[in-house]
């Protein structure tokens, strides 16, 4: 075995070990590496009410309520299996609307209502001009995919 060949094998072995170690570490931290929990995750993980968490999902159709004379807004976030009522007072991003994916940071109250301190819009990976989007909606090929939690 030449020295070059030996260095090549050592490098391959090193990369294999490094890759395995990284994969194991990432798998171990799986629940902590997510940026947000879905409403189902939240029910499963039983997060304590005093901990700040982020939740993500779609804003349920027809769930947005604004009260006159107040900036407080109430809506429900759904992952199509579980829903979570959210209350928020503050500035919403431009993309916020019913059916849109969002990520909200806040605390889960004892009454099961999520009190958000920050609401971010999640954008989907579809790019098209407005006319194309309108045509898709007319022909019934429209699929609401934004922010659907995995």
């Amino acid at each position: 075995m030449t020295r070059k060949r030996r260095r090549l094998y050592l490098l391959g072995l090193f990369l294999l070990g490094l890759g395995t170690a990284t994969a194991l570490a990432l798998a171990a931290f799986r629940d902590n590496l997510v940026f947000f929990y879905s409403p189902s995750d939240l029910a499963r993980l039983a997060v304590a009410g005093d901990r700040a968490v982020r939740i993500g999902g779609l804003v349920e159709q027809g769930s947005v309520e604004r009260r006159a004379g107040s900036i407080e807004i109430r809506f429900r976030v759904t992952d199509l299996q579980n829903t979570l009522p959210v209350v928020y007072a503050g500035i919403l991003p431009d993309l916020f609307r019913e059916g849109q994916g969002i990520v909200a940071q806040g605390r889960l109250g004892p009454d099961g209502v999520f009190r958000a301190s920050e609401v971010l819009a999640k954008h989907d990976e579809n790019y098209m001009p407005p006319e194309v989007a309108a045509a898709l909606k007319r022909s019934g090929h429209w699929q609401e995919t934004a922010g659907k939690p995995k």
Partner: protein, 250 residues
């Protein structure tokens, strides 16, 4: 491949390629910017902000592509000890760092109006920031030693260790919940992007790649000439045979 490890042959080849790659870069970037800024539609959700994508996405592709090249070059430098591979790695790193910075800045500018925040610590954004620090670390290590060969070896090891970050960046949006959206263009499915928007995106990507080729050839040439000059000065000053340092012998 060993044939091109000869610096004289590399210089000739580079001089032949450079006018072409520079021409392609100028034309593609001019056409790409025209389509990106004027001759493409606004997005149905993002409005005019979608135009930031035509710089952001190709810059992100370049950041990953250059890092992968950097790691491959470093592996060649460590295993086969080609002096040219060390020079190429050293020439590549600042260009990659610049593309990563461009990607981070444009992404932040897009995130503020669209997401409602300049920055979040989700898996995609954080792993790209780590990539930026890997580039900076590579540049710093390369210059941290008096003996350039030792600096190049340390930097090569860092580049190879950092390569685990590349698949993490690529698949972060699929493995974990992130604020960042998943890829629109994949090999297996039709792109989730309108053809009118794909055109400026691809033109910009071609332009960035051609620019990278030109600037890399230029930087490697400068580095070869600088080392030649240093060796000549050393020989004149010492009035003795040339030093037998592998990296210095050109």
């Amino acid at each position: 491949m060993h044939r091109f490890a000869n610096p004289a042959r590399f210089l000739r080849l580079g001089a032949a390629i450079m006018p072409w790659s520079t021409g392609v870069a100028v034309l593609s970037l001019a056409a790409g910017l025209y389509f990106a800024l004027f001759a493409s539609p606004a997005d149905y959700q993002q409005g005019e902000s979608v135009r930031i994508m035509y710089v952001h996405v190709p810059a992100a592709w370049m950041a990953l592509f250059i890092y992968t090249s950097l790691a491959a070059t470093s592996a060649i430098a460590l295993v086969w000890k080609h002096p040219l591979a060390d020079l190429a790695a050293k020439a590549m790193a600042p260009v990659g760092a610049a593309f990563t910075a461009l990607c981070l800045v444009t992404g932040s500018l897009w995130g503020q109006p669209m997401w409602g925040t300049w920055w979040v610590w989700d898996a995609r954004l954080t792993s790209v920031l780590v990539l930026f620090f890997l580039y900076l670390g590579h540049i710093a290590l390369n210059n941290a030693f008096d003996d350039p060969t030792r600096g190049a070896r340390a930097a090569a090891v860092l580049a190879i260790v950092g390569v685990v970050n590349v698949p993490i960046i690529k698949f972060s949006v699929d493995w974990w919940n992130t604020l960042h959206q998943p890829a629109s263009i994949t090999r297996l499915a039709a792109p989730a992007i309108d053809p009118a928007m794909l055109r400026p995106l691809l033109l910009m990507a071609i332009g960035f790649t051609a620019y990278f080729v030109s600037i890399l050839l230029l930087r490697i040439r400068t580095e070869i000439l600088a080392r030649k000059l240093r060796t000549l000065r050393y020989m004149q000053g010492a009035e003795a045979p040339a030093p037998a340092v592998a990296g210095e012998r050109i």
